[in-house]
């Protein structure tokens, strides 16, 4: 078999070797509990502080505003339920979009059951929400607007900067939450300048371990804790800190900040798209035009070939891709994102997601296009018979 090519980086990424080393070092030698008063504890506390500062500096925010969680899902839950509970006296209306990740959508579904009202805004064919729609949806009792930065299935980029600005111009100024799990480390994010109050990020999408994430909370924004206990993370998120995860997160961010060329992913994507459209002219790109979407996500359909069939055919040849989001891929119904951008059912069923990382190579892009071309030929033949 040929070399394996991993192109499911929007689902999760391999841990970077430097990160793995830092994680191991932490578990073996710096295993103290940051709350302990002795030297082992102080050492852990110092690491915790350094990592908080590193992540804050990558976002250009105050370290005091970075709160570690068990991942992107928990960060989204904390942002949404935490805001809803903290502001329930001011109003019970929230705004989001139809294309959010399940960790946002299902959290809002839960709030609806508890008596909140939620507006789910539509998106255009490229998967982009209109700032005007956001403006029009705002009511006097709107307490929270939650909009993702990059969509995990089709890579559309939401105009969060513009939305942030318009929200800050509102009288009652709803809290603005951005799920930046897919964009952190790949696109510029400036929470302070863009008027973002809450921002979720996750380690395992940027070559840090699974099970670590963070929520940025702008100073002065009230969040009701979800998880009570020993008062860690200033009482916002109790529980013994996942120190190896935190240290790994910090190392991954250091690597991204210091050693990675941000333009690289767009170059890879450009090669992939060019080769793919040349070899498989029938390929349909779902979502935004490749150069307008996120640098690492490409959703494509091949008419007449089901996504799962394509996925397994590619896997046989050593290429690993995703269908839709990993979280819902086991359930088998149509992706809510493709539905929201008006994809026809047969095209949606044919969608696969190719998602890149800084560890992929240009040659892998060419090989992938070639292998996809082969698979399409083989499968088309099969379908016609």
């Amino acid at each position: 078999m040929e070399r394996e090519i991993y192109l499911d980086n929007a689902a999760t990424t391999p841990v970077h070797p430097d990160v793995a080393e830092a994680v191991m070092e932490c578990m073996l030698h710096d295993f103290g509990n940051p709350s302990s008063l002795h030297r082992m504890g102080l050492r852990a506390e110092k690491k915790l502080k350094e990592t908080r500062e590193r992540i804050a500096s990558a976002l250009g925010v105050d370290p005091e505003g970075v709160f570690f969680t068990s991942g992107g899902t928990e960060a989204n839950n904390l942002a949404i339920i935490g805001t809803a509970l903290a502001r329930k006296r001011e109003g019970r209306h929230c705004i989001t979009t139809k294309v959010e990740h399940p960790s946002v959508l299902n959290t809002f579904k839960y709030l609806e059951k508890e008596g909140w009202e939620v507006t789910y805004l539509p998106v255009n064919r490229d998967g982009v929400v209109s700032p005007d729609d956001v403006r029009r949806a705002i009511r006097p009792d709107t307490v929270l607007v939650s909009i993702m930065h990059v969509n995990n299935e089709i890579g559309s980029i939401q105009p969060v900067q513009e939305i942030g600005r318009l929200l800050k111009a509102q009288g009652n100024s709803p809290v603005f939450h951005v799920d930046a799990v897919q964009s952190f480390g790949k696109l510029d994010i400036k929470p302070v300048q863009w008027g973002i109050d809450l921002l979720s990020i996750s380690g395992h999408k940027i070559h840090a371990p699974k099970g670590i994430g963070a929520l940025y909370i702008r100073k002065g924004v009230k969040i009701h804790p979800l998880q009570w206990g020993g008062g860690q993370e200033k009482g916002v998120r109790s529980g013994t800190e996942n120190m190896p995860g935190i240290v790994g997160f910090g190392e991954a961010v250091r690597w991204l900040e210091e050693e990675v060329d941000r333009g690289y992913l767009y170059r890879l994507k450009g090669i992939l798209v060019a080769e793919l459209t040349e070899r498989v002219p029938s390929a349909v790109i779902n979502g935004p035009p490749p150069e307008e979407g996120a640098p690492h996500i490409l959703s494509v359909s091949f008419p007449g070939i089901r996504g799962e069939v394509m996925l397994h055919a590619l896997e046989e040849k050593g290429v690993y891709v995703g269908t839709g989001s990993a979280c819902s891929s086991r359930r088998g119904h149509m992706s809510h994102v493709l539905e929201a951008i008006g994809t026809k059912k047969d095209v949606a069923q044919g969608a696969i997601r190719l998602s890149l990382s800084y560890l992929n190579t240009e040659d892998e892009m060419r090989q992938t296009a070639r292998i996809i071309g082969q698979c399409v030929k083989e499968l088309e033949g099969f379908v016609r018979r």
Binding site: D8, V15, N33, S70, T73, G211
Partner: protein
């Protein structure tokens, strides 16, 4: 070089080499998302399944009843809030104890604000909860009883089986925070009639940031974290794959060596306790003399600030704690020590030494060698000591 002695295993343990070895491939090689359908995902899923089986075997339950979480705190929060919200039609009364970990206590206090009623049972001077009192506290509105398996500060082991039986007879859900017990003393969920049980890997030589909640089949509880369909739709969030693998290995190791380790630690603990009680005056042992965790020793020294004691020990290379790790840094005395009846000033002078696999007899010798001198020196500096010499003593 100075001797380094780590005696704070109840705060956290190091991660064992065998555990690390097993985790390592899941960072760089088998790094798939367990929800992905391709080979990387399937391999990851297999690893999660194996960890689930190992955890279930350690507790004598079935794998479908194990749900992985981000730690003990999340498991406690989920169990209590999850039962409260899912069963509020049946009643709004919860019974717990006054010596629980803050993960339980603060969750219960939050529920009180939301309209639930909570009974915080008292304990005796050893920190024991009485099953009779549990029974008396039950009303027709009681939906949950939550009693910790073993206390994290004073090490007292509670009569879980008896309480479980009462709860089962009355049809009330029974949760136990077994974060300090699992891997250290026998825990048989079936035999003890436990409906929900919290555990945390970093207390038994696994990694931090991963734990589990056992949920008996049929128990009604709401999800705590919403999102993807992970953990059979009950706990959303991409699984902490290496952490879960580490938990599985650590619990298997801990349980297979449990008897032997417990014997070794108990002997060391008892030598430490009698050594301290025999060589230092005005000191008391907190917690039960025999119904206590194998590695736990907790003392109160009159006329001394626990923090000064900790710092002095730290300078001698001994890592210890004054109460639970979470509350150190706060100036309030431990709620557990107050609950067993210690006055504030005595509670302030307490020291928790928790032993673990890496401790040796020489470590005990070393502590017994340096501790009396430190206590003596600190007392000489204490105005209280001068005043109270010959006066009233609590110990």
């Amino acid at each position: 070089m100075q001797r380094r002695v780590y005696m704070d295993h109840a705060a956290t343990t190091y991660t064992k080499q065998e555990v690390l070895d097993e985790m390592l491939p899941y960072f760089k090689e088998i790094y798939g998302n367990p929800s992905s359908v391709h080979g990387f995902g399937r391999e990851a899923r297999k690893a999660v399944d194996l960890a689930r089986e190992r955890t279930a075997a350690a507790l004598n339950v079935s794998p479908e009843e194990i749900y992985f979480t981000s730690g003990g705190t999340e498991a406690d929060n989920w169990a209590i809030k999850g039962v409260a919200w899912a069963n509020k039609e049946r009643g709004n009364h919860i019974i717990t104890t006054s010596i629980e970990h803050h993960a339980v206590l603060h969750t219960c206090q939050y529920l009180e604000k939301m309209g639930f009623e909570v009974t915080y049972l008292p304990v005796d001077s050893y920190g024991l909860v009485y099953p009779e009192q549990v029974k008396e506290a039950i009303t027709d509105k009681t939906i949950l009883i939550s009693v910790m398996f073993a206390n994290n500060e004073i090490g007292t082991i509670e009569p879980i089986k008896e309480i479980g039986q009462i709860a089962r007879e009355r049809g009330i859900y029974f949760h136990t925070d077994a974060v300090q017990a699992v891997g250290h003393i026998p825990v048989d969920v079936k035999d003890m009639n436990i409906d929900l049980l919290s555990l945390s890997a970093h207390k038994f030589y696994g990694p931090k940031g991963v734990g589990a909640l056992y949920i008996r089949k049929g128990v009604k509880l709401h999800p705590f974290i919403h999102g993807g369909a992970q953990e059979r739709n009950r706990r959303a969030g991409t699984e902490n794959l290496p952490g879960i693998v580490g938990l599985g290995k650590a619990i298997e190791l801990a349980v297979s060596n449990l008897e032997e380790n417990s014997k070794r630690l108990t002997a060391m603990r008892d030598r430490l306790i009698s050594g301290v009680l025999n060589s230092i005056e005005n000191v008391r042992l907190n917690g039960h003399p025999t119904k206590r965790l194998p590695g736990n020793a907790n003392f109160s020294f009159e006329f001394i600030e626990g923090e000064s004691l900790l710092l002095s020990l730290d300078m001698k290379g001994i890592a210890a704690s004054s109460g639970s790790a979470c509350t150190s840094g706060s100036l309030d005395p431990s709620h557990v020590l107050l609950a067993i009846g210690l006055p504030h000033e005595i509670a302030h002078g307490s020291l928790r030494l928790t032993l673990g696999d890496d401790n040796t007899d020489e470590d005990i010798d070393y502590v017994l060698e340096v501790l009396p001198g430190i206590v003596k020196r600190l007392r000489e500096m204490s105005p209280l000591f001068a005043q109270h010499k010959g006066g009233k003593h609590y110990v």
